[in-house]
Symmetry: C2
């Protein structure tokens, strides 16, 4: 996919985004009979940074660089379903790349559904997302509700294709990671804490716990899901631990930067209404640590993520390292 | 579980409901820190017929009666995860019963989430469900939205426990069935058609298509998911086809009876506001076929379901047959 000697994050990202956008175009249904498919495509295909899919594919590639079991199978590709022997035996590296692409898209669908529901009048009541009318403004509230519900289901549909494409072991593992990250102990749980914390002063620990669930869990799952698309031995406990630390630090840094941007950016650059969190009395890292305090916290988390990554002992983690840089340096 | 010579549907149902209620009590989180767990338990544990879980367990038991691979393994139970050989080799009948119980609860969670979202003001705007205030009345709209979202995620979490409990092959298959039944080509798709059909006159074919998706898909999945918790050979193509016909006829009969009850029942018996569909200009089988026409259509579908069941060639389908009777005879 890329020259080991001359890795360019921008080139790599461009290549991955093409894969991701094409896959989403193909897998999000186009059926518009009752406007459901139309609203789903509107919610998903209208742009976005695709950070979660990129993390997923970057993690898959870093493991692939090490995966002795598969690295010589690139040309043979997928050879069909397992009938006997070790689970995953007869699947090649191409099948694992395919699994990771499905995982990448499933993660984006969960993220997209959360935005659709989050924007609704009973939640954040936002009318603008990525510079466009939000789904409920465009299609009505009832359709926005269904759109989000259907996107969540579609995520799990993408993870469970025929076993001739992806081994059952990987399918089950991906569904396990995603459901835990999306549910009551992950994203939805974080949203509930967020909801009940409006107007309250949270400690830094409480704020971190809320964000670890609300946005962190899905970012964490992005890394772990991509890395788990591999032969049974490749995603070792050492790498799992290093990736988990990387992902948690990156997830928190992402939110700290979000809070900073909500203060220093303008609506046009950010593509959504700014200053809303402060106006709504929601606690943020800026309100808690001050602007400079938040900025130095973001940099410390960035360093923690990079250190963990270097400690994984993998041949090539440049894409993951580059994405951590992006999270810190982003302007929107 | 029951004496083959003296099957009593009521006794069987009573036993299964105890299993189901206990499992739901255990698996739906009790954490009430931010009221999310509380709202989820309120939505799920507040009663209900548990038709989907019962269908699932009935289908599992009918297959078990035939499953040569497992029927002598009852006492040995689960013997640990697969390491080699045929997928499922070292899992016993108890592990398959456990998988079916997880599937049964996952189905109920999807059903429960759909009711929570369906009752919201932007959808049906119902304030009463099973004689109690609906979730958004009790917890607010934002929490009801999150509650439904978290229940859907929890369904997939239940289906993907450790592989020491349920083989990956079964986990993947259950997630595949459930995501397809819940999503854009199933329940959510049917809801969208329903939404866009208010005030229109639908043909019987269009009405059936809508219901086949809206309620039929999940009832169909209930039967197929329960039956798929078995050794690899037990759920043969012949049985799959027979069960599919049974489940589709039963699902449609269920909806026809629903429409009849909406006209002939009263709010107290039904536990929800009656006559709303007609008042909202929603097409129903009664508005299309008349009351008597709808009643005889329900009976024809019931017969179709029973015929298909008898054609499956299984030793014991009495629980499934009994549930089809219940669907026709129910008064609420």
């Amino acid at each position: 996919m890329h020259d080991v000697k001359a890795f360019e994050l921008q080139t790599w990202t461009h290549q991955q985004l093409e894969l991701i956008e094409n896959a989403l175009m193909q897998w999000v249904p186009a059926d518009t009979k009752a406007h459901l498919g139309e609203s789903m495509r509107y919610a998903v295909l209208g742009g976005g940074k695709r950070l979660r899919p990129l993390l997923c594919l970057a993690a898959r590639q870093s493991i692939k660089s090490q995966d002795a079991e598969w690295q010589n199978h690139d040309s043979s590709g997928h050879q069909g379903p397992v009938e006997s022997g070790e689970p995953g035996d007869s699947y090649g590296a191409l099948a694992m790349d395919h699994a990771a692409l499905r995982a990448a898209c499933a993660l984006e669908l969960i993220h997209a559904y959360s935005l659709v529901h989050d924007d609704m009048p009973c939640m954040d009541d936002d009318v603008l997302r990525r510079g466009q009318p939000t789904v409920h403004v465009q299609f009505g509230q009832a359709m926005a509700l269904l759109c989000g519900d259907a996107l969540q289901a579609l995520a799990f549909e993408l993870l469970t294709p025929s076993e001739s494409l992806v081994p059952a072991r990987i399918q089950a593992s991906l569904c396990r990671y995603l459901s835990q990250a999306a549910g009551h102990s992950g994203m939805a749980g974080g949203q509930a804490i967020d909801l009940s914390s409006v107007g309250f002063v949270l400690s830094q620990e409480q704020l971190q716990d809320m964000h670890a669930k609300k946005t962190g869990a899905l970012l964490h799952a992005s890394v772990m899901m991509g890395a788990s698309c591999s032969g049974p031995q490749a995603f070792s406990p050492t790498i799992q631990s290093a990736f988990s630390t990387y992902a948690k630090a990156l997830g928190l840094a992402f939110q700290v930067v979000d809070d900073i941007l909500d203060v220093v950016s303008d609506t046009k650059t950010l593509g959504k209404t700014i200053g809303k969190d402060a106006a709504n009395g929601k606690p943020t890292f800026v309100s808690l640590l001050g602007l400079e305090g938040a900025q130095s916290y973001a940099h410390a988390l960035h360093q923690e993520a990079q250190d963990a990554l270097m400690g994984a002992g993998l041949k090539d983690v440049r894409a993951l390292a580059g994405l951590a840089d992006l999270v810190i340096k982003r302007r929107s």
